[in-house]
């Protein structure tokens, strides 16, 4: 119920009020994608002449919890959250709601029990995203192709990676694929390359598919595959949609990436915020479009970074 909350309606008639937006991100600089999300949101707010306050927890959920409290005590008109952990986020939105402030979840939704406290969610379902990628693979090769799939992720305990892995593995449940334990490159492309080398040394060309959970790292792995001369033999799927990745797809070094466009998320988020602050009611779910980019349609897209 967003009626009781302070909106433009009860905070004065003037339309061009300069609102303050608080943004609590799990980490501004832990990965390029997160960074661009932040920058684009900022751009959206400044475009509307709003004040944009950011607090970044650099991957530490404990710290993010503190920062949420700090943000509340600052009493902004609306709080955007890119949550480091969907279940802890339940408490956060609860507290924000109690303080009579709107909360909008960006990029990462809160657990069900939290949804009644939050005003809206903007962004893709990350779990769904990787689920779909897996479905694509299954569609391509069939569920009993006995594929061997290697996975490379960023930081093992980071929530967005956790859900991505979860989604992918869900989809592969009822197939006879063998999934190798994910390797973690700790947001370091060189490490990703090393990990991939290890995988190749271990399984050689037994690996049919590489699932990368972040283009930046995937590209490291791709380099390793190239060096091993297995380009094309090992089909590479990935997400986020970096410029480099799109090139790689054009050149056939990768098969698919999902552009989870931060600009798109920010755009949708902007509209949602407009509505909320001008007192209109909004849908809870505001999906941002995902673009599944392959050789066929790669020409139509340009990466963000």
């Amino acid at each position: 119920d967003s009626s009781k909350k302070n909106t433009a309606a009860d905070s004065g008639p003037e339309k061009e009020k300069a609102y303050t937006i608080g943004y609590c991100t799990m980490g501004y600089s832990i990965a390029p994608w997160v960074l661009f999300l932040g920058d684009n949101l900022k751009a959206e707010c400044e475009k509307r002449g709003w004040k944009f306050n950011m607090l970044s927890a650099e991957g530490d959920s404990e710290l993010q919890a503190e920062q949420i409290q700090t943000m509340i005590s600052k009493k902004p008109d609306l709080i955007l959250i890119f949550a480091g952990d969907a279940s802890l986020c339940v408490d956060w939105v609860k507290d924000i709601d109690a303080a009579g402030i709107h909360s909008v979840l960006v990029g990462m939704d809160v657990k069900e029990e939290g949804r009644k406290y939050a005003t809206a969610f903007v962004g893709p379902d990350q779990e769904q995203m990787t689920y779909n990628v897996a479905s694509e693979i299954i569609k391509e090769y069939g569920p009993d192709a006995g594929l061997t799939i290697a996975q490379i992720g960023g930081v093992p305990q980071q929530y967005d990676y956790i859900v991505r892995v979860k989604g992918f593995n869900e989809a592969c449940k009822n197939t006879n694929y063998t999934l190798i334990e994910p390797e973690w490159a700790h947001s370091n492309r060189a490490d990703a390359q090393g990990k991939m080398e290890n995988l190749l040394a271990t399984y050689g060309d037994k690996i049919d598919i590489l699932m990368g959970y972040d283009d930046d790292l995937t590209l490291g792995a791709v380099a390793a595959i190239e060096e091993a001369g297995l380009t094309g033999k090992i089909k590479v799927y990935s997400i986020t949609g970096m410029v480099e990745a799109l090139h790689a797809i054009e050149e056939g070094r990768m098969v698919m990436t999902v552009q989870n466009s931060t600009a798109e998320i920010a755009r949708v988020c902007g509209n949602v915020m407009d509505k909320i602050l001008s007192g209109e009611s909004v849908e809870y779910n505001n999906p941002s479009e995902l673009f599944y980019i392959t050789k066929e349609n790669v020409a139509d897209y340009k990466g963000e970074f």
Binding site: S29, L35, E181, N188, A190, G194, N198, T202
Partner: protein
Amino acid sequence: MNSNSKETNLWKKFLEMNGSGVLIALISFIILVSIISPHITGGKYLTWTNIIQVFRQQTYIGIIACGMTFVIISGNIDLSVGSQLTLLTVLCANFSHYGNLAAIFGTLTLGLVLGFFNGLFVSGLKLNPFIVTLGTGSIFGALAMILTSGFTKRADSTLFNYIGTGSVLGFIPMPVLIMLCVVLIFAFILKRTVFGQRIYAIGANPKAARYSGIRSRAFVAITYILSGFCCALAAITLIARSTSANPAVAGGKEMDVILSVVLGGTSILGGKGSIWGTVIGFLFIGFMSNGFTFLNFNQYMQWVVMGIILVIALAIDVYKQKGRV
């Protein structure tokens, strides 16, 4: 001295050698993995390519560890190498847009500068090395974040590609060659030059070193500058390989480095140690993480096993030191 038979003498000599305990642990680990892995993942562990790979993955740890060996032998420590590496990779990526020379020389100079700061604090102001480098570490790390505002920098340059992916005689990758050069040069400096010998002296008893006319403070400062230089070199090879740097690059790498050095039998108290031991040290860590893939261990298994093996290896080294001062 009591007489003993030839082979026990050889055995004694081997034990006397720095890091032999770890060498034992390493060899047994390798054997174990190469026996087990075919049954688990069907991977062949002990192949030339794999060995080369371990070397290549450990390139930058190895290079930094060489510098760190000097620092530790002189009785100090440098906890800031991880952040130095991060900062320097990021900077190197930036410089690379102004051309190769700018990138390489710029990075190396800045490496020297960072090292100089540590040296200034530790030997100039005589501050506790552990804590000071902890402090400078968080400063450098923060700087990397602030300068880049977290953005992943990308380097583009043909030379870098060559350094990163080129290879000599077709089978020695360029980074490995660089590392080997560093290892050989540093080993030579440490064992054969006046500078090296005096580093040992300073580590063993700084006061006596000073009373023997050794300019201890200058020497200590130099070890830190060398360490900074190594970080720069490592940063270059790292960039050359991954062509991209973000501030998360080298979080916590200093632990790997220090472990490598100490595993190699270098005394954290200073005055004792060798580059050769350090090489064993970082190979040990390299072969472990590489071996875990062969065993299809997941992250938490890796950590637990790694911890246990480390304790054992270190315990062996302590045990064989017993009775020697």
